[in-house]
Amino acid sequence: MNHLDALPPWAAILVAIFVLLGALFAFIGSLGLLRLKNFYQRVHAPTLGTTLGTFFMLAASITCSTVLHARPIYYEILIGVFLTLTTPITLMLLVRAALYRDREEGSLDVPHNRPGE
């Protein structure tokens, strides 16, 4: 006997939709990582997984455990808060590092230092 069988049909379908959407966005994000052509284009791709991918999966998890009264949902909320705070920081640092390296090498694809920067 599975605990998911205790879900009423409407909740089961709702959770299914959330899970599918979440996985789909994460999948497309990683596909973009593989497909796009240069680093500055690729850096946009994983944001899909960290925003809507995680959002829908957390929504599925929260719906599931709220309807079942199974367990507290604090961790899901904490994951959401931490991820929204940390993702911009990592991506910004990474892009700055990439820009610094490209400028050091004198790459022509990136804008160059203006005085005072």
């Binding site: 599975n2 605990h3 998911l4 069988d5 879900l7 049909p9 089961a12 379908i13 959770v15 299914a16 899970v19 599918l20 979440g22 996985a23 789909l24 994460a26 999948f27 994000g29 990683s30 596909l31 990582l33 593989l34 680093f39 690729r42 850096v43 791709a45 994983p46 997984g49 960290t50 991918g53 995680t54 999966m57 957390l58 599925a60 998890s61 599931c64 455990s65 079942l68 199974a70 367990r71 507290p72 961790y75 899901e76 904490l78 994951i79 931490f82 991820l83 940390t86 920081i89 990592t90 640092l93 990474l94 700055r96 590092a97 990439a98 610094y100 390296r101």
Partner: protein, 93 residues
């Protein structure tokens, strides 16, 4: 009926996430530059966290969600340290 659907969807989602993780690993191996590899590692962390959430839904255990939270936090610290390293060649200045 709707429960069979849910089971099937969760398995499909896990397959999609495994594919997503393998895409990140391919990008990590292929590079071409260090920043591409770090970006791929970060995406791998996030995908692993989402995969753990689906396992948590399936097994109704808090443990997996907790593990997901920890992966998210460690992934953040790891990526920040690697980015610092790329920028200056050392982690702590």
């Amino acid at each position: 009926m709707s429960h069979d659907l849910l089971e099937a969807v969760i398995i499909l989602a896990q397959l999609l996430l495994l594919l997503a993780m393998s895409f990140s690993i391919i990008r990590m191996l292929r590079g071409p530059r260090a920043q591409d590899r770090v970006l791929a590692l970060d995406a791998l962390y996030v995908n692993a966290m989402i995969l753990l959430l689906t396992i948590g839904i399936r097994s109704n255990s808090l443990l997996y969600v907790e593990a997901g939270l920890i992966i998210g936090l460690l992934g953040f610290a790891g990526t920040v340290a690697l980015s610092k390293f790329l920028m200056r060649g050392q982690v702590i200045e």
